[in-house]
Subunit: 373 residues, 4 copies
């Protein structure tokens, strides 16, 4: 443990770059026991855009050479597209630099495995940034489950519905390309759901024992912005899956980018022998909970001082937003780095998710249930 500020290098300066930079900037005012952090170097390819982003996000330096950076900083954040997750992350780990990598861990199971192994070999903190584990209502839900309030877990139901590709004219991006993204809704959204289910009920139901899944692409090609061209969509617009866990519990999972009327609807429901609960990301300050002493679901506003992370923010009823999950995960990750402590979700956790994503794809191809244990 050291009192020196941690120099953070960040690869990627778009959506995720902004979300993490904001989180880093907010820690000092709200989490007084968080490690001090220097936003040291922002890494990217386009020098001009990079310089502008570094200015906006408060970084001291920029670099177009991640190989130099991973060695130089105390912590390396890999927030680039999925296809650049493996190489820089592994390089950082080999340099002994802790890594925080965006999800899904990798576009393929092979790469995820290499990353997991590199993390194990390096023996430094390696986190996979599944931010929804850090929603207060989710932490609260997990505590209820761990306390046995739902009894024996029977059913898990998770879905992640968005609409940004429902319009066939929505432009092509790397997220529509198998090479760069690995998969579509499955990897981008499904990875979150699979991880969240593991986080909430993994201790109770074990890992997934067998799974069947399907992927579907409704729009086969999309226009390239600023041109007359179209490019093929080589990933799924939507997937569904159903699973049996080691305990005998059953699960259903689904995601889509073409679900009209749902912007960021990540909903998870858990049912046990003595209770049920439901969480929905678009109302992330709320948890619906049916306990043994209830007749119906209670809508809990999880904003009390006693709720996870809430003492750092505002009085009860003063709701927080999506971005706060990044503050919480950065707080936990950086604290683990400082203390050389365990951090979850780890690369190992990211790899376990990837095994499930991979099995869903194989089930779709082979028309068979896939065994995972």
């Amino acid at each position: 443990m050291t009192d020196e500020p941690l120099d953070v290098g960040v690869l990627g300066y778009r959506f995720m770059g902004k979300a993490h930079s904001n989180a880093l900037a907010r820690l000092p005012m709200f989490f007084d026991d968080a490690p001090d952090v220097n936003r040291h170097t922002l890494v990217g390819r386009d020098e001009e855009a990079l310089a502008e982003a570094a200015e906006q996000f408060g970084f001291e330096h920029t670099s177009t050479d991640w190989e130099a950076v991973v060695d130089e900083v105390d912590v390396f954040y890999n927030l680039g597209p999925n296809h650049v997750h493996a190489e820089p992350s592994i390089a950082a780990l080999e340099a002994g630099t802790p890594v925080f990598c965006e999800k899904p861990l990798a576009p393929t199971l092979d790469e995820a495995e290499e990353m997991r192994d590199a993390a194990a070999d390096a023996g430094v903190v390696a986190g996979c940034a599944f931010n929804y584990r850090f929603v207060p209502a989710i932490r609260y839900a997990r505590n209820l489950i761990a306390d046995g309030k739902l009894g024996e877990i029977h059913q898990v139901r998770g879905r992640y519905l968005q609409d940004w590709l429902v319009d066939p004219e929505a432009p092509w991006s790397w997220r529509n390309d198998e090479e760069m993204a690995g998969s579509g809704a499955l990897g981008d959204l499904g990875a979150h759901t699979i991880d969240l289910a593991r986080f909430l009920v993994g201790d109770e139901v074990g890992e997934i024992d067998r799974i069947s899944g399907q992927l579907q692409t409704f729009v086969e090609e999309r226009p390239v912005a600023g041109s007359d061209e179209t490019r093929p969509v080589t990933v799924d617009d939507a997937y569904t899956a159903q699973a049996e866990y080691e305990s005998g519990a059953i699960g259903t999972f689904e995601a889509s980018r073409v679900t009209d009327g749902h912007k960021n609807d990540h909903t998870i429901q858990i049912h046990g022998s003595e209770g049920s609960l439901k969480f929905s990301l678009e109302r992330l300050n709320e948890l619906e909970y049916k306990g043994a002493d209830h007749r119906g679901y209670e809508t809990i506003l999880v904003t009390d001082e006693s709720d996870p992370y809430l003492e750092h923010w505002w009085p009860p009823g003063h709701v927080i937003g999506w971005e706060h999950t990044f503050v919480h995960e950065n707080y936990e990750f950086l604290s683990a780095v400082r203390d050389d402590a365990e951090f979850h979700p780890s690369f190992e956790d990211g790899y376990e998710v990837q095994r499930v994503l991979d099995a869903i794809e194989r089930s779709d191809e082979t028309g068979e249930w896939v065994s995972l244990t």
Copy 2:
């Protein structure tokens, strides 16, 4: 077509017997163009209980011999347990008597096929009483879909969640027995969902092309009421399924009798390229609809005079209940009998549902996706 009242014979005098008898009793006051009906004969085995029920439900006669009744009456209602659906229904059809049979059509696909064939041979009206087709909000939803308001249909999601078996001490009944019920949540609840999806989007997406499913039993044996014994549960407490339709649309289905906090939660959601909708049975007067000119779901109270069946009831906002679906389906069925007209859901429709239920069971057993076309 005749003006003579129709003599109706009804087999079964418990839950469904009461629901249909009530429906028959209410037709004259609310549907003035409905056929006149005599509640002629109530059929059962226990003479004392039968007499009491006949008195309560307003039947003129009772009989313990369905074979005599099917020939005697103008219409035969088969509301008994699933394992007595086939024989009396087929006998009635062979006697040229129109039949209204509760769902699921039969405990096995073989029996369902025989019933379908008997109906085809008889050439009389043979209805399968999937009452949820007759919810005004469902009819309204179907019209929206048929009018193209949702565009091309991409996703169907249906679930039917109840809680009456979540307590392991809830007593054993014929509904827990494979011989008598065929299946558990799958046949009892899933049949409704599969049929409702067909009704809503069948014209748009075709039949199910392939399906995978799983069944699970969480409580292996249950106490026999009024004794110290237990009996084994030989049917599913819950099932899940996922399907691809002929059009490429995908569907997910689920039902459970062990979902704490859900009493009669039959929820169906449809998503298309231009809109979405959601219906939930516990709020059956409402429809949530997201059209192309909307930013979010609109909650429509489907109780206007212009809404399906509503001109027969009360002014806008004066909600109807579950039982009204039986009035509507009896109105339609009996009108079809009087007019010798087509009626849906027919035995053919019931058989199509049974094919899907059967495929789900086979997928669970074989660990493979099952092709249906």
Copy 3:
């Protein structure tokens, strides 16, 4: 007490006539200990319409002379417009015939007082048909309050919002006329709310101590259907009121017929020192309840066998409708007539409501708070 069927005479054959006739018709199948009832005579002015209604509603006789009928029948139902509430009801009471009169009891406080006095003199059952007291969820709520689950009652909030006059072209009817209706939204809708609040918390907070109110008419004249004429609207489209109860609790009340998007939204909320609850008529099977052991509101589906009146109907989760409240109130009223027992809401209750309506009108006129005790 007698076992002879009660001959019921009913004045009025439109909306309320249908609602009560249906209730009478349904009692035998669902409430086996209800008194037997003959739908004896239907009373009205238009002989043709009357004959048709009698046929539809199952009445044996018709009459255009209520004076003859009130003496002839065992029970008299006064379901006519407000301005014909007093005279026939008083005549019936003077003839010793129990009366069930629709709400509000009368168009003016003077008439309501005469009716109350006539009932007191007659010493027979005289009921004012505030049907919402007979919603199962409302009975359940009242029990919670009586059991002290909400602690000391602090706040009452009631509103009744409809939209059927929001269109300025909606046609004129007797409900827009002060002579015939007494008042508008205030008497038609507000009467329900004032009574429901009294029913729920009257034992806890006492009567209203002082009140201020306002009435507003947004559309000054309306077209007469089938003509080019318009007629002036001489009643309120909307009212608001605020009150202090004897206990120090405070209340706010509101109704409107011009609230776009609200069809029959009768919502009442109660807040106490230890809990809160909320009921809404458009979802009448539900109650939202926040108890001392809750963090938020629990949505209770009040459809269990143990819930008020529910053992007479369907299994849990099989929701009932608006019309069922009439079955319940007819069951209670007729049982009281048979047993010569007390019945609430009585004419006395109806009069107490009228005092409040009258005070609201006076406050609007004088610009002062009005004292009621």
Copy 4:
């Protein structure tokens, strides 16, 4: 207009101090055209607490002497308790320093009037920090109303319900004291509602023409934290009011700090001749809107790039929190200071709200409606 950073001095370092400091800190990363700001001096009385807060909130200096500060800085924020709003704000204005003062503008109408006049005399920007005007969904709603989507406005209904004083043992604070706070729920919460209604429909309905109100205190004394003493509560726990606007529209208002189950429930509903809308602070990313082309309310997630302020934040569906309203209002206020432009809500707006609060108190005392025009 200048490019020099604005030196901001802030009086108050508790709840509001933190909320505004956070807002100032976040502007550069998200609003690139916002003025540069130095968090210059934090003002308070307790030097130790002040030093700690200055460190946490990122202020360069501290001072216990506001009189020196108001002259020294470019902008003065008055975030202290209500009873210290007037003197420092007026001093700042007299020094020509723009002022941003928390709401309600003052504990009494007299002081509010002095502040308004001082602002008018000074001719610099003087803002009253009603932050809820800066919720994106509220801005969106206001645009709908201004575009005539609701037609002629008939009804306004606002309530602000909290529960932090429902426990009689909740400790006494300055907010329970008339000297320091002016009033209780009325000034603290009601001020927000009155202002929000003015903001949303003021252009359509004019000012309030007459009003009646009541205040109630349910808990007469409260314990002093850390002692055995109690102190009297000399302000209201709850108020209600009803009003008629110049246009004839009617309004109802209510607030409470003793409403169990409601944490920060600021809900406002507007009904017009062609539509309705509803906003609720605990779900501040949502707006419920019923337009002329709708049958029911549409739930709009106001998080699209095209929505007010949202282009500065995250992609659609990535919800923001309560604190973001402070970022928006600081952006607007500071931009107005830089550009010497008009800013609303101004001291004039704050004064108008105070007139209404004062009239409500007078109506409660005199038992009369109070005329405001």
